[in-house]
Symmetry: C2
Subunit: 319 residues, 2 copies
């Protein structure tokens, strides 16, 4: 089975997905769907608003769109016409996104795999897995140090912001406490600092800083540092996209303790997010071919469907 792939959106994530699809043994890139008319890349580019006309040529559409506004506005319409895989990352609103995608996908007889990537995504199912093993688990997720695409994107959408980078930095005392099983009721807000670098006209600084600090879901409740820098400083010091994190779970089974740690160290966040999205695209194509419809999260997908290898070879080589 060759999986015929479309990529909707051609920012950092879309470009990385398009490149990675071409390294897969079982995928073929049909084209990129973009609102931009000036893309000069070596695959066909189609206008995003004419995507539906290509529904018969594409098995999986990777939605490489921003979570702040593009996914909520555009993703359900894609799901009515295509099997989709997205990386929607606004954790608190994922249940609503899942419901909207479930309705749209069912209406079109399609499958929508939602909130892939690494968090949400790989971290999500490690949290569920590790929690299921202990009667009273203690679990903490730490992010960074790294740039959050979602948060940087959200800042860039504020009027007057020309460029921005947002670093998530774990609180080192909090990590140490979690490893000792003593992090207690520590919240994500207490465990991390959000460090924002912004390029904007001086006249807008006060308003922009206030809008950042007051942005619900993304910044409210966190220790937030906002630094305004000039274009050259941002270009020189804040254009890399490293990221990573830990999910640490500790618990008692009968009378003895065990700890589980899942850790990622990523040189470039969008490349690894793309790797997760592409693997779940393979699962989406297989499940759609079996007639599965509606929205699915990573929690509902068996791991073997992510691999280009068959189950017998996987059992032989990896179990």
């Amino acid at each position: 089975m060759t999986i015929r792939v479309g990529v909707a959106g051609y920012g950092n994530l879309g470009a990385s997905v398009a490149a990675l699809v071409r390294a897969q043994p079982d995928m073929e890139l049909v084209g990129v769907f973009s609102r931009r008319s000036n893309l000069t890349i070596d695959v066909p580019v189609f206008p995003a608003d004419e995507a539906a006309a290509h529904a018969d040529e594409i098995d999986v559409m990777f939605l490489c769109l921003g979570s702040a506004t593009d996914i909520p506005e555009q993703a359900p319409d894609f799901a009515r016409h295509f099997t989709t895989v997205d990386t929607y990352d606004n954790h608190h609103l994922i249940p609503a996104h899942r419901a909207a995608m479930d309705e749209a996908a069912r209406a079109g007889g399609n499958l929508a795999v939602v909130a892939t990537g690494w968090d949400p995504g790989l971290f999500s199912f490690n949290r569920v897995l590790a929690n299921a093993l202990f009667p009273e688990p203690k679990q903490h997720t730490f992010w960074g140090r790294g740039v959050s695409q979602g948060h940087s994107d959200a800042v860039r959408r504020i009027a007057g912001v020309r460029r921005a980078a947002q670093y998530t930095i774990p609180n080192t005392e909090a990590i140490a406490a979690a490893k000792r099983g003593e992090a207690g009721g520590l919240t994500g807000q207490q465990a991390h600092v959000r460090d924002v670098y912004v390029v904007a006209d001086a006249a807008d600084h006060e308003r922009i800083e206030r809008e950042i600090r007051e942005m619900p879901e993304y910044f409210v409740g966190y220790e937030v540092h906002v630094t305004f820098v000039d274009e050259e400083t941002l270009e020189a010091e804040h254009t890399g996209m490293p990221h990573g994190g830990h999910v640490i779970t500790s618990g008692i089974v009968n009378d003895t303790r065990a700890s589980i740690e899942f850790q990622l160290e990523l040189e470039r966040n969008p490349d690894f997010t793309a790797a997760c999205q592409v693997a779940y695209g393979r699962a989406a194509a297989r499940l759609a071919a079996e007639g599965k419809t509606g929205a699915l999260t990573v929690l509902e997908i068996p791991p073997y469907l992510l691999s280009p290898l068959g189950i017998d070879e996987l059992v032989e080589s990896f179990v």
Copy 2:
């Protein structure tokens, strides 16, 4: 749904499973099935060879039997009568075990979840997951320092061995190389030392040591140290059951590197193996209730089925 549970075998693993089942919100322990007639525990004990008579009272039978001989000899017969979950851990023979259990389970209209635990088990699906993310992954599994139940059990079955403990110890140079992405073609045999402590009569030492070193799958190909100790030394120094390990995967996505590490630190191996087996028992009961039959590995089971929580609550709380 309350899951009615039986436990077949009452060694370290069976005792731990029986205790842990009673800490689950959705499970009820019906009884232990054992060949021993002298068990005095506070749950009903039934003779193992009369288990089939209790098929209607039990939703999931946890097979807490040794992998060296008990599982191959007894597990298929259980699968003809019960939905089963085992922790068969002889990696190279898992495909054959899976085939035997698939045939037996289908004949009985049952489901058999095979080779759960942490390795095989959690490590297996982390290997498959991490491998699926990179076009050319480099992956290494390290075990220990810890006691391997399977290897200790195999040594104890040698004639003349009164007691035995086998420690698996990772080669520290090999771990460092894997983290640098330079462990190349390193095999499991090169990455670990097997350290065995045995209580036996002096007249048997030479033969026992030879039988250990010549045991296929378990010891052939490894650096093996065999030390004969007296009963008191083994009791004082080698009765703990710590274990753990790492699955380390590194790869390039487009032009950037990422690494994934899954790590376990376990105070007592059978307690954590029991935790994995019990969680997969929950999945087995749910899949069997849907009418699924045959053998399944952990690779084929979606993570949400391991949790006592429902999918909506999991998405809301953990994605």
